[in-house]
Assembly symmetry: C2
Homo-oligomer: 337 residues x 2
DNA sequence: CTGAAAGCGCTTACAG
DNA sequence: CTGAAAGCGCTTACAG
């Protein structure tokens, strides 16, 4: 804690000029004599002058601050999106006001008011899943961009991972590795992510003229479920040569059980996960080939789009962002490719 | 996006009163006639009036906003601390400005300036590890509280988990379960967390008049290292009946390899982890007994302390926050206790 | 009970 | 090139 903060009038009097001149000098205006400018700058430095952003914001109507409204920061998916956004903003002069509504609509309204009264220039709403969520954008005086979880309202701007495309890409990779008998284990079907990834699988198989082996097995997004599903699948469909899993947790469980049952991964069964959650995907034996949703990029893109929207140029609709397949040993043993 | 925002003078003229009266009515002052107040409130509602927090802040000198400066939000530890803080603030009227410096001192200074120019009322600095970090508090016009990673300056206020105490508690639990031949596998010694947890182990063993079995094994904080350490330890010290691991990642690897080598956990070897990172601790077989550092509580406490500091009552020093032992099957098989 | 006036810290036309 | 004045949206003594 230090002494009282200097204001621009302190700087002006120390430099022996008017407040107006001090302001111009500090803001790099041209119409100030060089010598005067230097005196002002020296005074500002001596007083450790920091302009008051509140006063500026009051004048300009812009705060250079955006709100980040999340439903579930604890969630694994919100965090990277948030970081990507924070990055895009931090690089400029933007600051981020973070609010976590924890899935509670009342709390969300409450935070929304708090953000608006602080006059944020815009808002990013980060979903906890890719399930569409109610719009908050109606009658809001600032632009809003949705990230990860899209808005239900097609007039809003949303950025989501292209789960269908990524799943198809993953399955095409399995096909390229020569696999033909592919099964699918995933999460609960009330997740759009689970449904989209299954659809990607279907598209890729249909295009190759193949049938999925067995039914899609749905269960919790957990390692335990992955193990259990593996037990079932190895029993009921012993001839499978690949499994596409809806998450790394599921895949980690699958790989573990396959190993215990003496099935070699990838030689006997290739396994693909989803999420590239590294604490799992790089630590299983073998490490997992998996889809990385590039969530930081998604967050950054959403933030950049928000800038554009603040400047009046928004592109409504749901924008699907490309994902990336990270190939590791669970589909492609070392030395083989 | 909607129409222009209403100001208090819009409200005043719609209600047919002066700005001063409108302000008093809106702020619940007593000295306004009930009928007048109602007219003002009605006008405010009709115009969806939201007071401009910038203008208020300029007057009062308080923004009801705090800065949260993190070094590594990606890190697993910053997040819960951040959430706990966000919670404590959100419950009141505080808002949180989030900045991630990603371990870069330059960027940290930059963010610091941005936060100060926005006139935050206070600052929480969240560390990425429990290693002490340079102070940012010198000559700052607002109070600062450090969470998880303490400041190097003892005059600052820091909140950290009590790793020494928690490790001792974990080891005492093993002793209570009748274990006497306890080994230790942990992370890199340049982490204070690794050193503190080892010290806790030492204290507990010394008090019980026991010796640690074998040397402390240090390696990366990874599951892979846990497996490797298990191979070594089961070879070199086959008589161990318990292992205290410095993290859940290490413990997960240890349990896995013990299982593969035919050692029963906990019957032959009891295992304790650290962190209660649930994706690991509840999914290993058996699930891990582990230390939960109560990081959300830590964050909340830091935030509450920041409030106190803003009101002028800070308690300097490093405050050690209690952790909690979560007992699962890796030390205490079902039905046995 | 109500309102005119001053002021928070800054920027921006507008005169000089 | 420099400075007096108005104003951003609000609150708070202070008169009436």
């Amino acid at each position: 804690m230090a002494t009282k903060r200097a204001t621009i009038s302190d700087v002006a009097s120390l430099a022996g000029v008017s407040i107006a001149t001090a302001s111009k000098a500090l803001n790099g205006r041209q119409d100030v004599r060089a010598a005067t400018r230097e005196r002002v700058l020296a005074a500002a430095a001596e007083l450790s002058f920091q302009p008051n952003a509140l006063a500026r914001g009051l004048l300009s109507g812009q705060t250079r601050t955006v709100g980040l409204l999340t439903s579930d920061s604890v969630g694994r998916f919100g965090i990277p999106v948030l970081l990507g956004a924070e990055n895009a903003f931090g690089a400029g002069e933007m600051a981020v006001l973070l609010c976590d509504a924890r899935g509670d609509a009342i709390r969300e309204q409450y935070h929304l008011r708090a953000l608006l009264s602080r006059r944020v220039d815009g808002l990013i709403v980060v979903g906890e899943s890719t399930n569409p969520r109610p719009s908050v954008s109606k009658d809001l005086p600032v632009p809003v961009v949705y990230a990860y979880g899209p808005s239900e309202d097609p007039d809003d701007v949303s950025f989501v991972p292209d789960d269908v495309g990524a799943a198809a890409m993953a399955v095409n990779h399995l096909l390229a590795m020569g696999r033909r008998r592919i099964a699918h284990v995933t999460g609960p079907t009330h997740y759009k992510a689970a449904r989209d990834r299954e659809e990607g699988l279907r598209l890729a198989l249909a295009e190759a003229g193949l049938e999925q082996v067995g039914q899609t097995l749905s269960g919790p997004w957990s390692q335990r479920w992955g193990r259990h599903a593996a037990e079932m699948l190895l029993m009921s469909e012993p001839e499978i040569d690949a499994v596409f899993c809806g998450s790394d947790q599921v895949a980690a469980g699958f790989v573990e059980t396959a190993r215990e049952r003496g099935r070699r991964v990838p030689d006997d069964i290739a396994v693909v996960g989803y999420d590239n959650w590294e604490v799992l995907s790089t630590e299983t034996r073998p490490a997992l080939t998996t889809v990385d949703m590039n969530l930081e990029l998604l967050g950054r893109t959403a933030a950049q789009h928000l800038f554009a929207a603040i400047d009046g140029k928004a592109t409504p609709g749901v924008h699907k962002m490309p994902c990336q397949l990270v190939i590791r040993d669970s589909t492609s043993p070392p030395g083989v490719s």
